[in-house]
């Protein structure tokens, strides 16, 4: 599996996802600068977290107008797998590959903490290896992760199995107490219509190393590997 990580001015989790792909999963990993159009034939594109362009204008807005993202859009439209994490999710919403928007957290604060995620659909390229009933413990670190979309889109996301992850309580229940940012229906991540594009606010790359305490995030990467192999 060939992985491409796109770097923008102000990305700060680029290093973390490169390590995720290259060191933890030993995948050939290319790094593409935002001005480049050639994605170098990836099987998976990773859009890292961070503060591209300092979140100026709106988070992800400026990154979504770069040559690299134009190529990512073409790649996704032809069925290629794209995973945007945190700022990467914001960029995917801004460039139109995913519907809706990520508003300021309801608390108006940046929030960093570990949370529990429940997969909404196990039959996707990004979730197929998650065992039934398994909750993933993964940290969030964002100021704008409050997912919002219009009613029609919300209905489509639910009925088409496109809610990839929700924030849940340790018992697996949707619970406002465990929704960190006011996100609609506790949404932590969503999929495109063809389910080949995933945007999620939590950081699975930060929960994939035993030395740091938790490896639940590995399941997402392992799902992609298994999807491409099958």
């Amino acid at each position: 599996m060939r992985v491409t990580v796109v770097q923008f001015l102000g990305s700060n989790c680029d290093h973390d996802v490169i390590q995720w792909s290259k060191d933890i999963f030993r995948m050939p990993t290319e790094v593409v600068w935002y001005t480049e159009s050639d994605l170098r034939k990836p099987d998976l594109v990773l859009l890292p977290g961070g503060f591209s362009y300092g979140d100026y204008l709106r988070p992800g807005a400026m990154a979504s107008r770069t040559p690299a993202i134009e190529s990512v859009i073409d790649f996704a439209k032809s069925g290629g797998l794209v995973l945007g994490i945190c700022n990467g999710f914001q960029i995917l919403c801004e460039c139109g590959l995913l519907p809706g928007a990520l508003l300021r957290n309801s608390s108006l604060h940046f929030i960093c903490r570990d949370l529990y995620l429940k997969a909404g659909n196990k039959k996707t390229p990004f979730t197929n290896k998650i065992p039934d009933g398994k909750l993933l413990r993964v940290p969030i670190a964002h100021g704008d992760g409050n997912y919002f979309c219009d009613e029609e889109t919300a209905k489509a996301l639910e009925s088409e199995g496109r809610v990839a992850f929700r924030y849940v309580s340790p018992e697996g229940k949707i619970d406002p107490e465990w929704n960190p940012n006011g996100s609609m229906s506790g949404i932590a991540g969503i999929l495109s219509e063809k389910k080949n594009v995933l945007g999620m606010m939590p950081h699975p790359e930060r929960a994939s190393d035993k030395a740091l305490g938790c490896e639940d995030g590995r399941l997402i990467f392992e799902s992609v590997i298994s999807h491409l192999e099958s």
Partner: protein, 740 residues
């Protein structure tokens, strides 16, 4: 703008004394120009010159075989083996954070990050010491919201995790809150960059943000007391742009990967003036700069303003000739200005030109060698002898211990710092082994088994009552924190926050604190490698308690052999290692609950403390203990309860049984500097006791982990029992009391 007429009156307004005015004439052999006056005034400000502290700072130990860079550079560096090194420093941003908390705190983080990456290190961890006024002071919520958001937003945007620190409330900070920012970075020991302007004819480069009018006189502002007119000083506070800093960080590390950068320094306090002068001074060279070439944010800045602007996110570096193309291509990639503004000379003078005219010409040695140095008079403050008196018979002992315990642990002084810490990214860069809820921050060093532990500590109350002991105990506590994570303490950075040094009482506190730090650093073999001094933390004549913050850095050779403070499982034995008895003198309990900052603080036996530190490192390294928690402010019971309150796992209780012989308040909340609570498997507990005995450290069994309650007895007689969930609710919501 017409050239300002330079008179003594004008100089005096800017903090120059008659003696200093004389010296300036002697150095120049003439009257200074207006820009020259600005240069002297900034360079000789307390903030830049350390004129009141220097002779005392020289007494601190700064050397050890593992010290690669001691004080005098942008950050200190220690060797951690296998070719790796860590650069670290702490710096205050107190005055700006009181005037404008968000930007003041944010630019404090920005400045310390630059100090570390200037050395060629990749910043990997931040700590923060935040000191606010009384929880119920009307300004506290405003300052706290602003400071925490400012610290968070800057570090989060750059992508450097915040691993903890300290949040303290005390009325002595009502008029002067403190923001002490610490950054640690990692580099190869043979790739250290220093702030030197070397090689005659080599170009001097300016990179980063454009220069604006913000922060002019920042260094001077930070060298004076506050009064009612402090609000007017808002324009002296700089405005931060973490996005630009992130680009600057990446661009600088990219050019430093090559061999053509000879010296580099950030433009911090006193901006271009101090960076250019210091770089030339360190290299013994001269420097010529054309101020007309500086990229400007707004039109018509005059030479004085350009020299003294403290606009953020700017660096100065000297490179070998002939690498212009390479340098420009890197900075163009990162969308940053990079301009050649001058060159290194052999004149030993700093020359600044503007529009083809020389506007300043100063012998560099004059600024440094002739800088005023004061051995200011000192005398023990009169109030101290009264403060040290404590008559416990006049203080009522606990009546309803369970309720009083709950109230105490839920107070802003002891409660969870979750509200603060969740606003900081703790895990970016995927190195965080222990984040801010732990005893010490601990990151792994990728590609090795090593872990780097760090802790920030000071107890201003102890420092007030006995500055010598207080400063020594800050070193001792921070070293013990690092040891409780399983790491060996190796070096110190400090941030010395004091009142007005022109007052003999404050100077006495400072001198005593230096003596205490010296004793402790020598004994614990933790040299001071970097730091800063912040005087004039006074408003309307009222000063803060002496607050020498200590940042301690230690090394764990194997991160798989480290410990955290949280109880791990049912049925473990709870052991108390170290001094058995605490004292109420100078305790948080007396201060927070009884409103008394009184009494003699606990004693500190540095030899004993060192044995305890070594014992902890070996117990953790041998895997004999499951958890380790230093018992500090608040005393024994709050420390034990904290071990039950892991943010990541379920409630795990404990039954504690203590020996009688003390008042309840003293037994539960008395403080001692050398105490640690550990848990051990019943099979290992005997081994732990034996090791402690061999090390000469007192040890005793005080309870068992298990259940969902926190129960406390004395000789088997139950005093109180509370559900962990109840303690957690009170403890986690304590900060809300301030913000509501």
């Amino acid at each position: 703008m017409a050239e300002m007429e330079v008179t003594f009156e004008l100089a005096k307004e800017n903090g120059i004394t008659p003696e200093e005015w004389e010296k300036i004439h002697k150095i120049l052999g003439r009257k200074p120009t207006y820009p020259e006056l600005g240069i002297f005034q900034a360079m000789w400000s307390e903030h830049c010159s350390y004129k009141s502290s220097k002779i005392h700072l020289k007494t601190l130990p700064t050397e050890a075989p593992w010290v690669l860079q001691g004080p005098g550079e942008n950050a200190g560096i220690i060797d951690i083996g296998d070719g790796w090194a860590v650069a670290f420093k702490m710096e205050s941003h107190n005055h700006p954070s009181f005037i404008e908390p968000y930007q003041g705190a944010a630019t404090g983080v920005g400045g310390i990050l630059r100090d570390v990456f200037t050395m060629g290190a990749r910043p990997l961890a931040n700590l923060n010491g935040l000191f606010f006024g009384a929880p119920d002071h009307p300004k506290t919520p405003f300052l706290m919201r602003g400071v925490v958001a400012g610290v968070g937003d800057y570090g989060n945007c750059i992508g450097v995790p915040m691993l903890g620190g300290q949040v303290t409330f005390h009325p002595c900070f009502n008029g002067n809150n403190l923001v002490n920012a610490f950054t640690l970075g990692v580099l190869r020991g043979d790739r250290i960059f220093r702030g030197k302007a070397e090689g005659v004819g080599n170009p001097v480069w300016y990179v980063g943000s454009k220069t604006g009018r913000d922060g002019i006189h920042g260094a001077t502002m930070a060298s004076a007391e506050f009064s009612e007119e402090t609000e007017e000083k808002k324009p002296t506070v700089q405005v931060g742009d973490p996005f630009t800093e992130k680009l600057l960080l990446e661009a600088c590390l990219e050019i430093m990967a090559d061999d053509f950068v000879l010296g580099i320094q950030d433009m911090g306090a006193a901006g271009l003036t101090s960076s250019s002068l210091e770089m030339a001074e360190r290299a013994g060279s001269g420097i010529r700069i054309d101020l007309s070439k500086i990229p400007l944010r707004e039109k018509d800045l005059n030479p004085y303003e350009i020299l003294l602007s403290e606009s953020q996110e700017r660096m100065l570096f000297v490179a070998k000739k002939g690498y212009e193309k390479e340098i420009l291509s890197v900075f163009r990639k990162w969308n940053l200005d990079a301009v050649q503004i001058g060159e290194v000379t052999d004149t030993s003078r700093a020359e600044f030109w503007f529009g083809g005219k020389k506007v300043a010409d100063i012998p560099i040695a004059g600024i440094g060698d002739e800088a005023p140095l004061y051995d200011r008079p000192s005398a023990e403050p009169e109030e101290l002898s009264e403060m040290r008196k404590l008559d416990l018979s006049k203080i009522e002992d606990l009546k309803d211990p369970g309720k009083e315990f709950l109230h105490f642990i839920g107070s802003p002084h002891l409660c969870s710092r979750k509200w603060v810490f969740t606003q900081y990214d703790q895990s970016v860069r995927t190195n965080t082994v222990q984040g801010p809820y732990h005893e010490a921050g601990l990151i792994r060093l990728k590609g090795t088994t090593k872990g780097i532990a760090m802790s920030l500590d000071v107890n201003p109350r102890l420092c007030k009552l006995d500055p010598r002991l207080g400063a020594a105990s800050a070193v001792a506590e921070s070293a013990l924190n690092v040891a409780c994570a399983g790491a060996k303490p190796l070096g110190v950075t400090d941030c010395l926050n004091f009142g007005n040094p022109e007052k003999p009482g404050v100077m006495w506190e400072f001198k005593e604190a230096m003596a205490g730090m010296r004793e402790a650093c020598l004994k614990l073999e933790t040299p001071v490698v970097s730091g800063n001094v912040s005087f004039y933390n006074e408003t309307e004549g009222v000063g803060i308690y002496p607050t020498p913050s200590i940042g301690m850095v230690g090394l764990a050779e194997d991160i798989s052999k480290t410990a955290t403070c949280f109880f791990k499982k049912d049925g473990a034995k709870v052991l108390l290692l170290g001094k058995r008895k605490g004292t109420l003198g100078g305790s948080l309990y007396l201060s927070a609950v009884k409103g008394l900052d009184k009494g003699n603080p606990p004693e500190l036996d540095l030899d004993y403390h060192k044995s305890l530190i070594n014992l902890m490192i070996s117990l953790i390294g041998d895997g004999l203990v499951e958890s380790a928690h230093d018992v500090s402010e608040g005393g024994l019971l709050p420390a034990l309860a904290e071990c039950c309150l892991s943010p990541l796992s379920d409630d795990l209780g404990a039954s504690i049984d203590l020996k009688p012989g003390q008042r309840l308040d003293e037994l539960f909340f008395g403080e001692s500097i050398s105490r640690v609570v550990v848990t051990a498997d019943p099979e290992s507990a005997g081994e732990v006791m034996k090791s402690a005995a061999a090390a000469g450290i007192d040890a005793g069994e005080i309870g068992l982990t298990g259940g969902k309650d926190f129960s406390v007895s004395i000789e088997g007689k139950r005093i109180f029992s509370l559900k962990i969930s109840e303690i957690r609710t009170v403890w986690e919501n304590g900060i809300d009391k301030i913000l509501a």
